[in-house]
Subunit: 240 residues, 2 copies
């Protein structure tokens, strides 16, 4: 019988350094909306997605690679970029065969922290690619860290719910001594039947819904509508 | 009509600096067991409790004030100190009229962080003094931060459940745009009827129960059995 690996959930990038990241698979979770958009663009045939923290890097890399640049602040496309953060913008007819340079704050920050901490592998997850993430974690049998990107380091519910959904599927195969993971699964079980109404209570909903993004947010909590596994390799997220 | 004040929950001392602590009341929560023991000792007539982070300070202050010194590491009384962290040790016949110098790690650290961040008032809370904390917060009508002491900065369930119990009682009187608070109340509502069995799932239970402290831990989640309000004034926790 195989040795069981461990599973931990980190509720904020600000808590990452409390955990043994080295040689673990880190799942970057940024449900509203970075990792939902990443899964969608790759599912629809994007060649690769380069996540960057700074707008100027986004512009420079976009120019160099003749790639599509995307990013929002406060619900508007950032000046100098071409597209926004909505998964709805990345249909197959638009994104197939193209490279996307995406600037996000919370998710990109956590991704780079995970790499610097020696993660053996970084993948991204959100409800649209729930099954792909779970299948991969089960197949790999390595220690797992479910990393919630949070919002400016503040705990958020939507990332926690996704961590809970993953735990609910795969926990039997892992050792889990982690109150964050117990809580995440409880919250998922409590709300899996009323997800569309529950997310309307979150602080992030109130922040984004004022920009008219309700259908975006519902899409972001819908399982397996863009079921691929984005893996970070050589500076970009790709599907192998 | 009075202006409503805000309420936030911080899930770890490592996240305190994300919030506006200045001029807020901070409730230090360390259910297993520091703030349960503090409420109990004061309820049973202790004159005051001096919380210190370092063992050497505990010994020095105890000697200077001819006070009782207490603290544990790994379930045993620390060498050089007289008593442990169990609320059961602080009966009225023992503690009445005495000063207790208590060394704890997680709770004391958060208390000093709150003071340094400009909190207008610091009180301590746990299930044994749930009502006293709620009544005070309702009476004061100031911004509130429910501060979970966590365990070495890692999120824990028992402190979160207490935050949820407070929120459940007082939320109507506060503005609450805080996912941590929404989660804490959900977790409390989900488990308030099975608290004794639920706490057996927590990581802290597994850590402490191996030292034979099961009855201690059940006491720590029992509401209002030591219903006083410990307030931090001039370096000590007292009941006014």
């Amino acid at each position: 019988m195989n040795r069981k690996s461990t599973l931990h959930t980190i509720l904020s990038p600000g808590l990452l350094d409390l955990y043994e990241v080295k040689d673990s698979i880190v799942v970057i979770i940024d449900v509203f909306r970075a990792t939902s958009t990443i899964a969608t663009a790759l599912y629809n045939g994007a060649t690769k997605i380069i996540p960057v923290a700074q707008v100027e890097d986004c512009i420079a890399i976009g120019k160099k690679l003749n790639a599509i640049t995307a990013g929002e602040r406060d619900g508007k496309i950032i000046e100098g970029l071409q597209h926004g953060n909505s998964p709805a913008e990345y249909s197959a007819s638009f994104i197939k065969g193209k490279t996307l340079v995406l600037t996000t704050t919370n998710g990109t920050k956590l991704l780079h922290m995970a790499l610097e901490s020696g993660a053996s592998e970084v993948v991204t997850g959100s409800f649209p690619n729930l099954s792909a993430v779970c299948d991969h974690l089960l197949a790999m049998n390595k220690n797992v860290i479910l990393g919630c990107s949070a919002w400016k380091n503040r705990f958020n519910l939507e990332d926690t719910l996704f961590a809970g959904a993953v735990i609910n599927r795969i926990k039997e195969n892992f050792i889990m001594h982690c109150d964050s993971s117990l809580m995440a699964e409880d919250m998922y079980n409590m709300h899996k039947q009323d997800m569309y109404s529950f997310i309307r209570k979150t602080t992030h909903w109130h922040r984004l819904a004022s920009y008219g993004l309700e259908s975006d947010l519902e899409y972001c909590v819908t399982p397996d509508v863009a079921n691929v596994l984005p893996q970070y390799k050589d500076g970009a997220l790709i599907v192998e």
